[in-house]
């Protein structure tokens, strides 16, 4: 242990001489890093603060958390949020199951498919949600039970989240050296499924997380298809409050922002623990 530590220290000491310009560069970068982080913080937090300040007005010149209590007590709030969260997790599961193998295959073995995938995965931006919903209804006419259930929303949401899931996974795959990993795996005789599972996937953790976060945010905010199919999802509930109440709507916006954020933090830390445990598995 001590030997390791001193070895590290020795390395940095010998490096410091040659690294003088680098070190100065690092300090300058540090300053600019804090600038950009600060800029992002201000940009993202100030509008939230404006909404927050408005939501605390419980009366003329009175301030308090009254509106938050009001929203939290509404059964419709809980029901719609739980419904949307459940749909979000289902959508993430279906998306990842569908997209990870496909993006891997295209990157590793079928690069000719890339332009087609790019086009298909950007198409959901320009197809009006009403068209997606109506098309889906038309196809499922023979199975009214399916149309009646909220499950059908998950199928549509996978499509709506498609550009984001594809792009995250694509960027992730581009950043790892697929050909080397593939060759290494192939040389020990692994099939593409084994390669994907044991080799590629562990390196894609942040891309998968990014894709999951984006999907969850999209599903929690999706309004058009659910309102068309008359389901009471969270966005439908938010719209209802927004058109009828002033301060409660602002409180709801803040609540939804932070609840979503907490959900994502939860997922982030769960994935960390999973990652840690597989790393531990590695040392065994």
């Amino acid at each position: 242990m001590v030997a390791l530590r001193s070895a590290t220290r020795k390395r940095s000491r010998t490096g410091s001489g040659a690294r003088q310009p680098g070190q100065a560069g690092r300090r300058r970068m540090a300053g600019s890093s804090w600038f950009w982080l600060g800029f992002a913080a201000v940009y993202l937090l100030v509008p939230l603060y404006s909404t927050l300040q408005f939501s605390l007005q419980t009366g003329a010149h009175q301030y308090g958390l009254g509106w938050y209590g009001y929203i939290l007590r509404q059964p419709a709030f809980r029901q719609s949020f739980v419904l949307s969260l459940r749909l979000a997790l289902e959508t993430v599961a279906i998306s990842l199951l569908l997209m990870i193998p496909t993006v891997y295959l295209v990157h590793a073995w079928l690069p000719k498919l890339r332009p087609l995938m790019e086009f298909i995965c950007t198409l959901p931006f320009v197809v009006p949600p009403i068209a997606l919903a109506v098309g889906m209804i038309g196809l499922f006419q023979g199975a009214p039970a399916l149309i009646s259930s909220t499950q059908i929303l998950a199928f549509a949401y996978v499509i709506q989240a498609l550009p984001f899931t594809y792009r995250s996974l694509d960027a992730g795959m581009l950043s790892i050296d697929i050909s080397t990993l593939n060759d290494a795996a192939q040389s020990v005789g692994a099939s593409w499924r084994q390669t994907l599972w044991s080799v590629i996937l562990p390196n894609l953790r942040s891309a998968i997380l990014a894709s999951a976060f984006l999907t969850i945010a999209i599903v929690l905010g999706e309004y058009t298809i659910s309102s068309l199919l008359l389901f009471s999802t969270f966005a439908v509930y938010m719209q209802q409050i927004g058109t009828s109440q002033a301060y409660a709507a602002a409180a709801l916006a803040i609540l939804s922002f932070f609840l979503t954020w907490l959900a994502m933090l939860g997922i982030f830390f769960i994935s960390r623990r999973v990652g840690y445990r597989s790393a531990v598995g590695m040392t065994r």
Partner: protein
Amino acid sequence: MNRQAIRWLGTVPFFAYTAIFLLIPTGEIIVQAFRNPSGSFTFSNVRGLFDAQILDAFETTIKISLITAVLGGVLGLFVAQAALRQGGPLWVRPVLTTFAGVASNFAGIPLAFAFVATLGSTGIVTQLLNSLGLHIYSHGFTIYGMIGLSVTYMYFQFPLMVLIISPALEGIRPQWREAAVNAGASSRQYWRLVGLPAILPSLLGAMVLLFGNAFSAYATPYALSSGYINIVPVLIGEAVNGDLSADPQLGASLAFGMIVVIAAAIAVYAVLQRKAARWLR
């Protein structure tokens, strides 16, 4: 050959799924764009796209999408890099990543209200600037104009970029930087010759995503600027989703126009990708 065939088969679930849930509805839209109410084939809907107002809507939408895609892309890149640099406090990354996740989809009425409450005529930042002597509204600024709408769009554009580009930035090995520094490269040279080329494909792809994201935005411009600025998704909403008129043919042809624009954007992206790949070599 057998192995390759299995790999091709592995993509079938994706193509089957998108065929059912995406391509067929898209096909229906395209067909409807070329049909008149009685059902026969016609070019008149598509010709109608060349009406001055609609062209103006496309121009405005493309402009605002390009601006926020590039600006948001660059801003997102800097912020992501700032969060990823070695040696920062450990909580920066999870907080930024998850916050960016929520912010990337904070849109529509809540976002419009947040910005009106911030930069509207009675907004807190406007009032702050007024007290400092900077009366932006007297100088013609309005949150409802192009600049105001772009500033609002940026709220979800740059966090989206942060999320997408972070994995790519993570893929940059610190050894590359060390090697470059040891060879005497400055920070700028390192980025120009090593860092940027490494992430350029992902960067371009992410900007296409941001472009599509802004291009299709409906709720935010409707809540904020529908009286001032002409945006294609809002026009589609009027045609198919309102209280007053039903013009599904117009909606379909507008959607068809959007498909053409996106296809063009992807074509441009493919060309840039090939150029970038050549540069990388």
